[in-house]
Amino acid sequence: MSGATFILNGRSVPFKLGQSILDAARDNGVEIPTLCYLKGLAPSGACRICLVEVTGARSLMAACSTPVAPAMEVFTDTPRVHQARKLNTELLLAAGRHDCILCEANGDCGLQELAYRYGVDGSSFPRSEHIYPTEQENPFIVRDFSRCILCGRCVQACNQIVVNRAISQGYRGKDSKIVTGGDRPYHESDCVFCGQCVEVCPTGALTEKKLRGQGRPWETKRIRTTCPYCGVGCQMWLHVKEDRIVKVTAVEGAAPNDGRLCVKGRFGYDFLYSEDRLKTPLIRENGRFREASWDEALDLVTAKFKEIIDRDGPDAVAGVSCARSINEDSYQMQKLFRAVFKTNNIDHCART
């Protein structure tokens, strides 16, 4: 097994038996462009962008679905390869309404990237007419079918990664469309809005409604963090523009979630910016809360705790820590109770 090699752009390199040309090339530092392939899943060969030249083969081969054979000679960067990718990019562009100016995917689009790289705009072929209107009735996901290249990534992600089985390929030929059961809109279907389809979409066919007009990819910085909801602890990128999260995506290949999120993790972040947020310390007086300074509020709490501990003993005070806040907060609170108040009356909601 080990020791198997093939020739990649004139260089003898190792590969694992059964590996596709695309994966083996990636492992050897050569990126072959693709719009449909998702790592770890069966290749669909739908986009025809990953074409490469294999010595002895009559036609160009799809790198995603061609297994490497020992001593196989593969070229990923020849004029013939370029010509084919260029043509296929042209065809994909012509098949849809790929006007980038208003597209949320602008700057984060696999198709745009290829068009730029190969210098094409889809004008060599007549434009297809589009029969399916954009769907945006649900709160989170905009489905713009005119930008869909039918690569099938969303279908694979839904069926094979998150296994929600809400969408599939529908209709035939020029009527082809990604559909839910009965071709209903997302919010009337089995869709659970995990947004994995948006995460893998290589174009602007699936975009996030909340993101609209909020920021371009080049305006945002990415910050890695851990999801604030359930106990899985998914790793996520916060896309932040001017101190505001405008989008959340999963960290690819990270433990524990390996590139996936759920509806709450992906779309449930904007509570942070609610007008209801508490912004100043509050003290209750005559049944009403009034704003107070930190010093006044902290002094009052300290005085009351001291008074009660002096009068009734340390076990007359008790505290509940927060199972949603950071470790360091819980550490600090139990330290306050044990070291300062001198009681072990500290608990949190793990038991309830």
């Binding site: 649900n138 709160p139 998150v162 659970v192 910050i223 963090t225 851990t226 359930c230 106990g231 899985v232 602890g233 101190d243 505001r244 433990a255 524990p256 996936r260 759920c262 709450k264 993790g265 779309f267 449930g268 972040y269 942070l272 209801d276 947020r277 508490l278 509050l282 209750r284 509020a297 902290l298 002094d299 300290t302 009351k304 705790f305 005070v317 008790a318 505290g319 509940v320 199972a323 949603r324 806040s325 950071i326 470790n327 819980s330 550490y331 609170m333 330290k335 306050l336 109770f337 044990r338 300062v340 001198k342 072990n344 009356n345 500290i346 608990d347 949190h348 793990a350 038991r351 309830t352």
Partner: protein, 527 residues
């Protein structure tokens, strides 16, 4: 969890009990479903036919609160048919004879009578479970939120040890934690009996270590109160001052009326929170806190992985990190704490004081976190617990008896109310209720009832009904669903008006004091 999420998709056999993972832990469920697509056998024990049950080889619709009887029945078959892992049990476990004597009292016929799953199905499941090794067991609050919660957990552990499944990749006993940092809050010693790293407060050596580290004397040696005792303590005057950090107890605890009476009785309540809640109404002082992405820190997930939380934006107004608030109170009481950031707290205090986390430092968890135990800075962390030997030496098989829920249906309250979480909301909606869109997908609570009960009571799908228990009653829309078994009403606690906790029973497991959220008696009628 003894094991890791990375095991889920690779597992060859999975037994899920008391976990509606697709809604409460959707990403974890995705790995289980992937395992099934790859050929793994899945068994789901749950009174409701959950979405995961649709993908299972067998769905075992056990009666609410019958877990121990059901699991003892499985173990009875494993032992009487000689299917358990004799070698594993002999070499790695204590207590087999005692366990055997106990489960012999639970032949499949008796387990069937209690659980409602027929004896032949119990036999078949036991044989299937013994046919693949290792198999993973996962559970969630369906196991723990019972007056028999601790016994339910012990039964899960008994089963997995009997099958020789603990201590291996793709095996083990795996409770999925409901909240992002429940694991961490435990690890940090926000518990009445242990310091950070599960070091007991009644151990003099441990206390001496913390006294030295914290520069104090006479740390208290008696375990403190648990939440239900604190709440009752407010009611009976034993607890005068109550500090509530980021909890909405007025919605989350069983029997809201009682809880609110107790909160109203407090002499002094302080809350740290990010929003006004039903609970902060009872506060005398409210401190505005920095939220999730407004401070640096760490969370610990269900698989004991300590991962970074990072700042994306400053907190609004004058809100401050919680650790700063606690530090300021300490300072005003004459204690100068040296750590001035979450990182300093972790690197200079937590990891120094908790041996199981000694190897975890901020500079080691920039990308993927580390799973404790991680005793030194060269240690790679521990994805699987109890490999080769149990942490305590030998695994203990603990015989336990089935006990019914504290409140069972009768002629006045003929149905069982069971509760939990739904996909589109989180707890009392302080967060998800304010995230645009989630209310559109789920805007109100429903009472999920079976078509049988609906037909019997003349209740139509979507009609308003009254659900009443001995504690209170709510008006709520009926959701008639064939996923609910006859005799069961199922509700969540996300919405205040129809919160299940107006109805739930403040009966607790005698050891853990976990409330029996999963079972109380109710009656329903058209509103």
């Amino acid at each position: 969890m003894t094991n890791s999420f990375a095991d889920f998709a690779k597992a060859r056999m999975i037994f899920v009990i008391g976990s509606n993972m697709t809604e409460a832990h959707p990403v974890a469920a995705s790995f289980v479903k992937q395992a099934v697509l790859a050929g793994a056998a899945l068994f789901v024990a749950d009174p409701r036919r959950t979405a995961l049950a649709d993908m299972a080889e067998m769905h075992l619709p056990i009666r609410v609160g019958s877990d121990v009887a059901f699991l003892n029945g499985l173990m009875n078959v494993l032992i009487t048919e000689g299917l358990y892992d004799r070698e594993y049990v002999q070499s790695r476990c204590n207590g087999f004879e005692e366990l055997k004597a106990k489960v012999l009292d639970y032949p499949p016929e008796r387990a069937a009578e209690i659980s409602g799953v027929d004896a032949e199905t119990i036999r078949t499941l036991a044989r299937r479970l013994a046919s693949v090794k290792p198999a993973m067991l996962m559970y969630t609050l369906g196991i723990t939120e019972h007056t028999s919660g601790v016994n339910n957990v012990l039964s899960c552990a008994n089963l997995q040890m009997l099958l020789g499944n603990v201590g291996f990749e793709c095996g083990g006993v795996n409770p999925l934690r409901g909240q992002n940092n429940v694991q961490g809050a435990c690890d940090m010693g926000a518990l009445p009996n242990v310091f950070p790293g599960y070091q007991r407060v009644d151990n003099a050596e441990v206390r001496a270590k913390f006294e030295k580290a914290w520069g104090v004397t006479s740390l208290p040696d008696k375990p403190g109160l648990m939440i239900p005792q604190m709440i009752d303590g407010l009611g009976n005057g034993k607890v005068k001052a109550f500090y509530i950090f980021g909890e909405n107890l007025a919605n989350t605890e069983p029997d809201i009326r009682h809880v609110e009476h107790c909160l109203a009785s407090a002499e002094f309540i302080v809350c740290n929170d990010i929003f006004p809640t039903e609970t902060t109404r009872f506060a005398h002082v409210i401190f505005p806190a920095a939220a999730w992405s407004e401070n640096d820190g760490t969370f610990s997930n269900s698989e004991r992985r300590i991962s970074r939380v990072r700042t994306a934006s400053p907190p609004p107004g004058e809100a401050k990190p919680n650790w700063w608030i606690f530090r300021e109170i300490a300072r005003r009481m004459g204690h100068k704490w040296p750590s001035k950031s979450a990182r300093e707290i972790w690197d200079n205090e937590v990891s120094v004081l908790a041996p199981s986390m000694a190897g975890v430092k901020y500079n080691r968890i920039r990308g993927n976190g580390l799973q404790w135990p991680c005793p030194n800075e060269e240690h790679p962390g521990t994805p699987t617990l109890h490999k080769h030997r149990f942490t305590a030496g030998m695994g203990t098989l603990t015989p336990v008896d089935w006990t019914p829920p504290a409140e069972v249906p009768d002629s006045d309250y003929p149905l069982v109310l069971s509760t939990g979480r739904r996909l589109y909301h989180y707890h009392t909606r302080t967060q998800t209720g304010r995230a645009a869109g989630l209310n559109d997908l789920l805007g109100e609570e429903t009472a999920d009832i079976s078509p049988f009960d609906a037909a019997e009571l003349g209740i139509g799908h979507g009609e308003m009904i009254r659900v009443a228990s001995r504690r209170g009653e709510v008006k709520v829309r009926a959701n008639v669903s064939d996923r609910i078994p006859r005799g069961v009403v199922w509700m969540a606690f996300h919405f205040r008006e129809a919160c299940a906790n107006w109805l739930t029973n403040p009966a607790f497991d005698p050891v853990s004091l976990t409330a029996e959220y999963k079972a109380c008696a109710v009656r329903i009628e058209r509103a």
